[in-house]
């Protein structure tokens, strides 16, 4: 009898030990994984505060710490110059293009989504299905054609052509329509139709129902979709690279790539400062909206 009790006791303590051992191992793995995940960030922070501005001599704790790189980034250091460094302009261009694209994109898609969600008409299902089919072929796969199209438009109306932000925004708008209409429609479908039906009975027309009822209810999700769209546009490189060709017109991502041309290692610290300033707002947005974004992910809103 006592034998069984002893065995049981030993077994229990060994299970407990096993469990603790397991947690310890997992914590060690966590440390390694976290090191992998944040090392580039720490490295770039350190680089940005290393006055030496060189890839070759940089260490994790900067040897000669200072804010020289930030001064160089904003052209405040007369001893450092490189090409056409217009950091503020690039950042402003990025914010401008992403902001305008987001506001226009969300407005246009939300209005369109209303028709798909609330009206019943011939052609509704075929159009919805085609939208899904089209987003299989995003316009970046048709890069050459998009470039030619914008260049041709520019030969007729220069303000909409190559090297203009309007041209770039139009391409972004066209490319995101299909997916976003589906997304917004999906959310709109979750708003019960009884609400707008009773409003219709009271004599409201569609536009009134849309602006007075649906939009206020959709506001939180529209803000999330808007922020995701902003982040996506802000981070785009390819279209901006192809369609813009003046340094003063570049978006931040295109501008940052300029650092890699020639001797990247001699501009490393300044690049680090620029990368950090460019990334911080987006990182903040993500952490502030973590829950909404994760919610969006499981519904299929993929950042990539």
């Amino acid at each position: 009898m006592s034998n069984i009790a002893q065995t049981y006791k030993r077994l229990r303590s060994s299970q407990k030990f096993q469990k603790r051992f397991g947690v310890a191992i997992r914590l060690i793995i966590a440390v390694i994984l976290i090191a992998f995940s944040i090392f580039p960030v720490l490295w770039i922070v350190s680089a940005s505060f290393d006055n030496a501005n060189s890839l070759a001599t940089q260490s994790l704790i900067p040897a000669n710490a200072g804010i020289k790189n930030y001064q160089r980034l904003f052209n405040l250091d007369p001893n450092f110059s490189f090409g056409e460094l217009n950091y503020w302009t690039w950042l402003w261009n990025s914010i401008k293009v992403s902001g305008i694209n987001t506001v226009l994109g969300v407005s246009i898609t939300t209005i369109a989504a209303y028709a798909f969600s609330r009206l019943r008409f011939k052609g509704r299902v075929p159009i919805l299905k085609s939208l899904l089919l089209i987003q299989v072929f995003p316009n970046l796969l048709a890069l050459v054609a998009v470039f030619t199209l914008v260049s041709s438009i520019g030969n007729i109306v220069p303000a909409l052509g190559l090297n203009t932000h309007t041209g770039l925004i139009m391409v972004y708008l066209g490319g995101s329509m299909g997916m976003n209409i589906w997304l917004v429609k999906g959310y709109m479908d979750t708003i019960p139709r009884d609400i707008d039906e009773s409003a219709h009975v009271d004599g409201a027309n569609d536009w009134q129902v849309f602006t007075k009822l649906i939009l206020p209810l959709m506001r939180p999700i529209l803000v999330t979709i808007g922020i995701l769209s902003f982040i996506g546009t802000y981070g785009d490189f390819l279209m901006a690279r192809v369609l813009l060709n003046d340094s003063s017109k570049y978006t931040l991502m295109v501008g940052l790539q300029l650092f890699t041309a020639g001797q990247f290692d001699k501009k490393w610290g300044v690049f680090a400062a620029g990368a950090l300033i460019g990334a911080l707002p987006i990182m903040l947005l993500y952490f502030l909206l973590q829950d909404q974004i994760v919610g969006g992910l499981t519904r299929g809103a993929v950042k990539g």
């Binding site: 976290i34 048709a142 490393w268 990182m283």
Partner: protein, 531 residues
């Protein structure tokens, strides 16, 4: 706008109101702009563009004037952008892939002909003038011409019509002993010596190009130029007026029987040439096959590695009450929050073979370090490592969500049946997980299949494949290769036609993967139920 009862979709009869009038005016303004645009497009030879804008304009008119168009008014703007900047480029790519569009053939036929028809030559029997030159302080020139045949006098300036003029006319000074004005308003007369010594003068065309132009030929003679090429629309040929040569339209270049050509050429259909070139030229085909194989390996490895790590993290730290669960997850999420272009550029610096931190550490620890930028295997390894860093947090997010939705009773039942931990993972967790995240994995596969940013920004597609006909590297994928063909030819000349033929290949592959995705996951059926 008509007020409509949405639930029935039947509009109430229109009544005249301010809004109706405003809408009408808006549509008319839109039509006017659209038609102006179409006319301009046609005059430049952009027929395709004119057609697509025409379709949009007609569509808008139908939607906004017919009552039946009411539901479509809501989506008109969205669909217009979609048609113009997504659907049209896809079809336009198909068209370009059958043309020679690229260096030497960048213009439309209309534009090329307009240039060709401006070319002039100096015929032997040209009408000749004696000339006197004047120069303005800004360096502009004017000529006083005296017709050698009938003594008529003219004033000629570049870009302006040549007009008959007399000394003493407004702006023209009095005549000297030879009957030539001593000055022109804003210009001073050059002495004969100055004029003869002037190097610029003989290169300037006086008069309007394509109309009547005069050029200085010798120190005392200027001659009227003639248009060299005349286009005959009926036979689609160009005739050289100076020697009678006939140029035929040969795939976008006007060419004589003995091979003389006129520049510029223009965009023209060349049939399957671009595709044939890909298959027939070893210098294109070889690198393309290397690239295609890598183009499939890269997303496969990327999805496998990111999914494995993301899932492992989810399983390890999913447990209720695991110490520091929240901060661990937050720190591991960091790579996902940085714009990927910025992260990739940071990694580019860290992977620098000579100075990068990775190689400096490797040298310190194990004494050797791979040359990431010049050895194909290590270059590809670097790409996979960076993409693992970029992608695992996303997989972590989607798998931890999906794991929580697996009911715990299944595990309890399995435990009762004596299944080991591994068995439970392979037989229960993974299959159930794949059902819910499978579509997202395929989406991730397609995303990485076209992950231009990573490939282009990390190593520029390099190291280069030796003997490749165009710029191509061991880490290049189709989309980065297409980009190089069209936008960074590296001195080899842009090849839009060839690039579009490659894009067609990309369409087919991506389309096939998506078809598989829909089949595999029954997504289409689900979608059909949810509309």
């Amino acid at each position: 706008m008509a007020i409509a009862d949405s639930s029935e979709g039947k509009p109430v009869p229109k009544k005249f109101s301010l809004t109706t009038v405003l809408w009408k005016i808006l549509i008319l303004a839109f039509d006017a702009l659209g038609i102006w645009f179409i006319v301009q497009a046609i005059s430049l030879g952009y027929v395709e563009l004119a057609i697509i804008v025409g379709i949009i304009v007609v569509g808008f008119n139908i939607i906004f004037t017919l009552d039946k168009g009411y539901p479509f008014r809501w989506m008109a703007l969205g669909l217009a952008f979609l048609v113009m900047f997504n659907i049209y480029p896809i079809f336009f790519t198909m068209y370009i892939s059958f043309t020679n569009y690229g260096d030497g053939h960048l213009l439309t036929k209309k534009q090329a002909l307009a240039q060709i028809q401006k070319v002039t030559y100096l015929p032997e029997d040209a009408k000749t003038y004696s000339w006197t030159a004047y120069r303005s302080p800004e360096g502009n020139y004017a000529l006083w011409l005296v017709d050698n045949a009938d003594g008529q006098t003219y004033l000629a300036k570049p870009g302006e019509e040549i007009v008959p003029a007399q000394p003493g006319d407004p702006g023209i000074g009095e005549a000297d002993t030879k009957g030539i004005p001593v000055s022109l308003e804003g210009y001073t007369r050059l002495t004969t010596l100055q004029a003869v010594a002037n190097k610029e003068l003989s290169n300037i065309m006086f008069g309007i190009e394509g109309e009547k132009t005069v050029q200085v030929r010798t120190s005392n003679e200027a001659a009227e130029l003639k248009l060299r090429f005349v286009y005959d629309e009926a036979t689609d040929t160009v005739i050289d007026q100076s020697n009678g040569d006939i140029y035929f339209n040969k795939e976008g270049t006007f060419t004589t029987k003995d091979g003389k050509t006129i520049s510029p050429g223009f965009r023209a259909m060349v049939g399957w040439k671009n595709f044939q070139e890909v298959f027939n030229s070893p210098a294109l085909r070889g690198p393309l096959i290397t690239m295609l194989i890598w183009n499939f390996i890269f997303p496969t490895l990327s999805v496998l590695t990111t999914f494995a790590l993301g899932l492992a993290i989810s399983i390890m730290y999913n447990e209720e009450g695991f110490p520091l669960k929240k901060p661990i997850r937050t720190l591991l999420l960091i790579p996902y929050t940085i714009p990927s272009v910025i992260s990739i550029l940071i990694w580019r610096g860290m992977f620098n073979t000579e100075f990068g931190v990775i190689n400096r550490m490797l040298i310190d620890i194990i004494g050797v370090a791979p040359r990431w930028t010049s050895e194909p295997f290590w270059a590809r390894t670097a790409v996979i490592i960076v993409n693992l860093w970029l992608g695992f947090p996303y997989m972590m997010l989607i798998t931890s969500g999906a794991l929580q939705s697996i009911p715990s009773e299944i595990y309890e039942a399995a435990e009762v049946d004596g299944a080991s931990g591994w068995q439970r993972f392979w037989k229960i967790t993974l299959p159930l997980l794949l059902v819910s995240v499978g579509p997202l994995l395929i989406a991730s596969y397609i995303f990485n299949f076209n992950n231009f940013n990573l490939i282009y920004l990390l190593l520029g597609g390099g190291p280069p494949i030796p003997g490749a006909a165009t710029q191509a590297g061991y880490t290049d994928i189709l989309i980065s290769y297409i980009y190089n063909l069209a936008f960074a030819p590296g001195g080899r000349g842009v090849r839009y036609g060839l690039a579009s033929a490659m894009s067609m290949m990309l369409f087919i592959i991506v389309g096939a993967i998506t078809l598989f995705q829909y089949r595999f996951t029954n997504m289409w059926e689900e979608v059909s139920e949810n509309v």
